[in-house]
């Protein structure tokens, strides 16, 4: 079996200190294999968002190790962490976090802009990503003028644009009605199957979780 893409051992995360300390994660072990889709489910306050933030290297654990591709991430510098997040990860949040006044294309190409990709290439790749999600005709629209489903598709296009290895999705369908939510789910699982992109989904939706390879 291939070595796991992400490997977590004995993970602890404590918020606060002293008597008010709150232990969100107590000694978690987890391996995520290449191409796997994983659902993190649980009640609110059960630490699922915490786990996702740690896996996505947005936060550092109190103790325990997270290994990405065989590298202990606690050894990475802030700059390397930034680069890793920029090139290997894509993010889909419950709130869309789109810049309402910027065009759809500008929103989608933001990760490339951060990576320092020249404008011409940014535009080409942005249009390609939008075409994949059938949004290329909306490229120059303001993000504000789109419907909820369209916005979430823009967010997915943004998460896809840097050809990530993992897409982290925090309640991706939480803000959508059932029909559009289903469409977004289809897109995500389609990407997981066809392109081998790992999927880490945080949700409290059992149906969504059941479509994943594994739930924890």
């Amino acid at each position: 079996m291939a070595p796991p893409l992400l490997s977590v051992s004995n993970l602890h995360k404590t918020y606060g200190s002293g008597p008010s300390a709150f232990e969100a994660l107590k000694g978690l072990d987890l391996d995520i294999a290449e191409g796997e889709s994983l659902a993190i489910i649980g009640k609110s306050g059960s630490g699922k968002s915490t786990l996702m933030h740690l896996l996505a290297l947005l936060d550092r654990p109190t103790s325990g190790t997270i290994t990405l591709d065989g590298t202990d991430t606690s050894r990475l510098s802030a700059k390397q962490l930034n680069q890793t997040r920029n090139s290997a990860f894509g993010f889909v949040f419950q709130q869309f976090f789109l810049n309402a006044q910027a065009s759809v294309l500008d929103n989608v190409t933001l990760p490339l802009k951060i990576a320092g990709v020249p404008r011409r290439e940014r535009t080409a790749r942005g249009m390609a990503a939008l075409a994949q999600l059938e949004l290329d005709d909306k490229a120059s629209n303001k993000a504000n003028d789109l419907s909820g489903g369209q916005k979430q598709r823009v967010v997915i296009a943004r998460a896809l644009i840097n050809q990530p290895r993992v897409i982290f999705a925090d309640e991706p369908t939480g803000n959508l009605d059932t029909a559009t939510g289903a469409v977004v789910e289809d897109i995500l699982f389609d990407l997981n199957r066809r392109r081998g992109i790992n999927l880490v989904v945080v949700t409290h939706d059992e149906d969504l979780a059941s479509r994943c390879d594994r739930s924890i």
Binding site: N82, Q83, N86, Q95, F97, L110, K113, A115, P118
Partner: protein, 427 residues
């Protein structure tokens, strides 16, 4: 993120909230406008003084007089000194005369390149073609000095024939026609010699001087003419009288710098003389103008500081508004230093726009004021009341941008320190 993208994004972000940015820009505009205008006023007036200065003397010449050492420092009456003679300057002012011995002493002082006693000449009248006789004062010509000329050229110091530059105001009175006509004509100058007899000397007009602030009214002779008039004037006077001078001009090496000039002044002081450079003489005037400009600039800077606080406020609001956006960008791998530059450049952009508009506005108003002041201050020809030199304009723009940058650091630091997770939770 590429630096160019950072700047472009900062530009776009600055104008995302148009009204808020415009108001901040307006505050900066007022400060930069005032600062440019007061600076321009100082530049204009000092430029005018500089232009006029070169007609009074040159910067490598020091005027040396004998120090009146017997003036009591406690303000009591000074003892009578038989060597005291009337000096140039306000009526009643006296100076101790320099003798030939003194001239030799000065010539021997280290740093003195040459010394020339000033031969003061009192002209009784000037006359052209046996017409009406007019009073005329004769200025002293220092080598290198340049007079603003309406026509003709500067006097030739080495010329063998007596020459002079006549003020423009004499043209009509002496019936000399236009300035161009006057050049080449001959006028008679009369002096009274020591025996009380009035004698005349002829001189050719080589140039016509424009009226200026400082040389108004005086004719400028060349050496030959001064010599001739002086000789006529002292004919019949006892030897002791002919070799007494109110002051002497000392040439020194101006390139050696202010320290060397000061050292020379000290040495002259030790030898019992007082040396003053042109700067010393004009220093008081420029110091007053610089002082006034400094005070006015102070007010403008206060306005700019207030505008800077406006920038702090504007950016704090922008950081607040864009919390989630910043969090998202940081989650996507944007480094904190880039976030910092994104916001601080936004502040600099506001500063740049405000100061550029302010400077342009000041230049526009300056043109208007100059047009009006040309009519109001017609007595000061050649005066540009508000002048802009590129260096001070650039200084204003750059210092406003620096103030804006400083103002932006606080909000930018807050943005840079934001934790992506809590920013993204923010609702």
């Amino acid at each position: 993120m590429k630096p160019l993208d950072v700047v472009a994004s900062a530009f776009r972000n600055a104008f995302r909230s148009r009204l808020r940015t415009s108001l901040t820009v307006l505050a900066i505009f007022i400060g930069a406008f005032t600062l440019s205008l007061t600076n321009g006023l100082g530049t204009g007036i000092n430029q005018y003084i500089d232009d006029t200065v070169s007609s009074v003397g040159v910067d490598d010449v020091m005027t040396v007089t004998k120090a009146s050492e017997d003036v009591p420092t406690d303000g009591g009456p000074a003892e009578y000194d038989p060597d005291q003679i009337a000096a140039d300057g306000p009526p009643g002012a006296t100076a101790t005369a320099l003798t030939d011995d003194d001239i030799d002493t000065i010539a021997g002082i280290e740093g003195v390149q040459s010394v020339e006693p000033a031969k003061s000449v009192m002209v009784d009248y000037v006359q052209h073609d046996d017409g009406t006789r007019y009073q005329l004062s004769v200025a002293e010509f220092v080598p290198g000095m340049r007079v603003e000329l309406a026509s003709g050229e500067q006097v030739d110091l080495d010329a063998a024939d007596p020459e002079l530059v006549l003020p423009e105001s004499y043209l009509e009175a002496l019936d000399l026609g236009t300035a161009a006509d006057a050049v080449g004509q001959t006028v008679a100058l009369a002096v009274t010699d020591a025996t009380g007899k009035q004698v005349t000397a002829e001189a050719t007009i080589v140039g016509v001087a424009e009226p200026g602030v400082i040389t108004m009214g005086g004719a400028i002779p060349n050496d030959v003419l001064t010599e001739e008039l002086h000789d006529l004037q002292t004919t019949g006077a006892p030897e002791a009288e002919t070799t007494r001078y109110a002051q002497a001009s000392v040439s020194f090496d101006a390139a050696a710098g202010a320290v060397e000039a000061q050292a020379l002044q000290d040495r002259l002081d030790d030898a019992g003389f007082t040396g003053s450079t042109l700067e010393d003489q004009l220093g008081a005037v420029t110091a007053v103008i610089d002082g006034i400009v400094l005070v006015l600039n102070g007010f403008a800077v206060i306005a700019l500081v207030a505008a800077g606080i406006g920038i702090v406020n504007t950016l704090f609001m922008a950081v607040q508004e864009r919390t989630r956006e910043v969090g998202l960008m940081k989650a996507m791998g944007l480094s904190s230093s880039r976030v910092f530059s994104l916001f601080s450049i936004e502040a600099v952009v506001i500063g740049l726009v405000g100061s550029a508009l302010g400077v342009l506005g000041a230049i526009g108003v300056g043109q208007l004021v100059n047009g009006v002041s040309g009519d109001l201050l017609a007595d000061l020809p050649g005066l540009t009341l508000i002048a802009f030199d590129p260096v001070s304009v650039a200084t204003v723009v750059l210092s406003v941008m620096a103030i804006a940058f400083l103002a932006g650091t606080l909000p930018a630091l807050r943005a840079a320190r934001q934790d992506p997770i809590s920013s993204l939770r923010y609702e």
